[in-house]
């Protein structure tokens, strides 16, 4: 009875130690929080969005972000000023003038367009909104609007949903691929190993963009956005697994030699037991770390694909799509706020990197 008991203690304390080491990496911990926050946003995208991301209106085209005034006199009542727009006949820019006379107060949990929370509960409440909801013709644009007068904030929320899940799905797929293949390659070695190593080398030798283009262009275009979305995910991950495989293999190779594994073998533990009871515990941590580091790559890939017009295309909304539409001179010159979608990209990628580093350092202070 002592055997498995000790085993558990051993494993537990190992995770515990990892957690302790991880906690030392302050920024990593913070990053972890950020990441969680973003994924909450993914769940509640339509709650956080306060306007229909597709509702276009020429008369508010390219409206700069509206400053939010938190206090009315001394009373706390967040509001924005009503805005009137016109195109300047000389500069051809759209000029917007706030009218301090007309305050539009922001209501929390205000009613807005209808949606299903978590895809289940029908709701009309949104984090913020204007009293009277949409019909009042009063509007707020905390991040401004795009060319078609669509609310950037709301579009951003919906994009977050797609972009972050794409990363997640992608990583899951490449994780499976990576672990299985890397595992085979590392645990058995021999022909399996050489073969898989070749494949990896070949995949890595071919510049990714042609691969993307080839695969992405091969997708039937009459697929629905959702289908394409999944296909793209698969594509990205098809190229993403090699790195993970490498890590896994490395670990397996290292482990094979380690005493406790060897002894476990000698004692005559079944291979499964050897792998899962003895190897996997000290092993998971690395996978987690590697995965975390793979995620930002996925996210970047998504934006890159969209930039090349190979990824998700407009109607669909993703960070990549938003950025791709901001990828022009006039944006940089006269409507820079359209580049805001880059901010979440940067934050998330950073967060994932720090998180990943933290996890990896925690996983094994000695190796990488």
């Amino acid at each position: 009875m002592a055997g498995p008991d000790e085993q558990r203690i051993f494993v537990a304390s190992q995770w515990q130690l990892m957690w302790w080491r991880f906690r030392r990496h302050k920024v990593a911990v913070a990053s972890g929080g950020v990441v969680i926050g973003f994924y909450l946003a993914v769940l509640g995208a339509d709650f956080l969005a306060y306007a229909d991301p597709n509702a276009s209106e020429a008369q508010r085209s390219l409206m700069p972000p509206q400053p939010v005034y938190w206090f009315d006199g001394w009373r706390f009542s967040p509001h924005v000023y009503a805005v009137k727009g016109a195109r300047d006949p000389q500069t051809f820019k759209r000029v917007y003038r706030a009218d301090p006379g007309q305050k539009i107060s922001i209501r929390f949990f205000a009613g807005g367009f209808e949606y299903r929370f978590l895809g289940l509960i029908p709701m009309t409440r949104h984090l913020i909104g204007v009293d009277g909801g949409l019909d009042a013709g009063k509007t707020i644009f905390v991040l401004g609007t795009d060319v078609q007068g669509r609310d950037l904030w709301s579009r951003l929320m919906y994009s977050t949903r797609i972009s972050l899940t794409i990363g997640l799905f992608g990583v899951t797929v490449s994780l499976v691929l990576g672990v299985v293949l890397g595992g085979l390659s590392g645990f058995y070695g021999g022909i399996a190993d050489t073969l898989i190593q070749r494949v990896i080398e070949i995949l890595r030798s071919i510049p990714t963009i042609p691969l993307w283009m080839g695969l992405a262009a091969a997708l039937p275009r009459d697929w629905s956005i959702l289908q394409i979305y999944f296909a793209i995910t698969i594509i990205i991950s098809l190229l993403g697994w090699t790195e993970l495989a490498r890590v896994v293999r490395g670990r397996f190779l290292a482990m094979r030699e380690e005493d406790f594994v060897v002894s476990a073998r000698l004692v005559g533990c079944s291979q499964m037991r050897t792998i899962f009871v003895h190897m996997v515990p000290s092993f998971m941590s690395h996978i987690i770390a590697a995965t975390t580091l793979a995620l930002p790559a996925m996210i970047i890939s998504e934006t890159a694909l969209s930039f090349l017009g190979l990824g998700l295309r407009p109607p669909a909304m993703s960070w990549g799509v938003l950025l791709q539409q901001a990828q022009n001179v006039q944006t940089v010159a006269i409507s820079p706020w359209l580049m805001i979608p880059a901010v979440p990209v940067i934050i998330v990628v950073m967060a994932f990197n720090f998180l990943g580093d933290g996890l990896r350092d925690a996983a094994d202070p000695y190796g990488r």
């Binding site: 030392r24 990496h25 302050k26 920024v27 070749r198 080398e201 070949i202 890595r204 030798s205 071919i206 510049p207 990714t208 963009i209 042609p210 691969l211 283009m213 080839g214 695969l215 262009a217 091969a218 930002p296 970047i300 934006t303 890159a304 930039f307 090349l308 950025l323 901001a326 990828q327 022009n328 001179v329 940089v332 010159a333 580049m339 880059a342 990209v345 940067i346 934050i347 990628v349 950073m350 990197n353 720090f354 580093d357 990896r360 350092d361 202070p365 000695y366 190796g367 990488r368």
Partner: protein, 329 residues
Amino acid sequence: MLVYIGRRAVLAIFTVWAISVLSFAIIQLPPGDYVTSYIAQMAAMGSVVTDEEAQNLRIQYGLGQPMYVQYLKWVRLIAQGNFGMSMEWRRPVTEVIGERLWLTVVVSVAALILTWVLALPIGIYSAVRQYSVGDYLATFVGFIGLAVPNFLLALVLLYLGFVLFNAHIGGLFSVEFQDAPWSAARVWDLLKHLPIPALILGLAGTAQQIRIMRANLLDELRKPYVVTARSKGLSEARVIVKYPVRVALNPFASTIGYTLPYIVSGSIIVSLVLGLPTVGPLLLKALIAQDMFLAGTIVLLLGVMTVIGTLVSDVLLVWIDPRIRLEET
């Protein structure tokens, strides 16, 4: 040692072959062929190509044949050192790639150097001072390059370059030097255009390198020989620089081989935005126009570069790192 290199070389050849097949296949993946996209171009410009003409073109370009036939044809050409004719550029592929290829190398090298200048010190610092504020700051700086979508960054820098410094927009040469023969002046002109691309391309790689350096060094710092060095009474700085850093550099130095092609293929998007006359945009256009031979050659080229690069790196590693050498032989 020789045995090792030999074995690797054989494998490399196999890989190259596989790449040639794969790259050819990739190019065939998209629907239609060069003629389709040619007609589309024409149509987009208001000229019309009739079905018959299209068919005729296909025959002229031998696009009718089954894929494996085309592949063999291609391989045979390559065997003769002739990479075929670019359909869109109506010039031998080699000519089209010509100068672009080595301009690409120039840009990449510049980026590479920048990367290291940034990555090495940062990496060392953040390893030695793990979890210090400095560590975080340094890594943060390093990661920015990784996190910012570089096509956007490129465009912004392009615009700022124009607004703030009246810089020539994009490209690697001013108009007057565009086709000029090589001269000191032209080189200087090239150098003047280099910083922005190098920066953007470099930044992307930096984070990666920082990470490698940091990890390697953390790894080494804990090795007993560091204690030995300390116990000799060496100053801390000397201890670090002479021993762990030196060792940690090995795998680092060995990456030279494949970082270059890596940067090259990574530079495609940026080159496109900055309008650099490198192979990147060429490849992109070729792929879109389904200019088989051109695209195929470039992909193959990059692939081969990577393979050779990797080979060189490994050999290099074996050469500079005695430990491995001894294991290998």
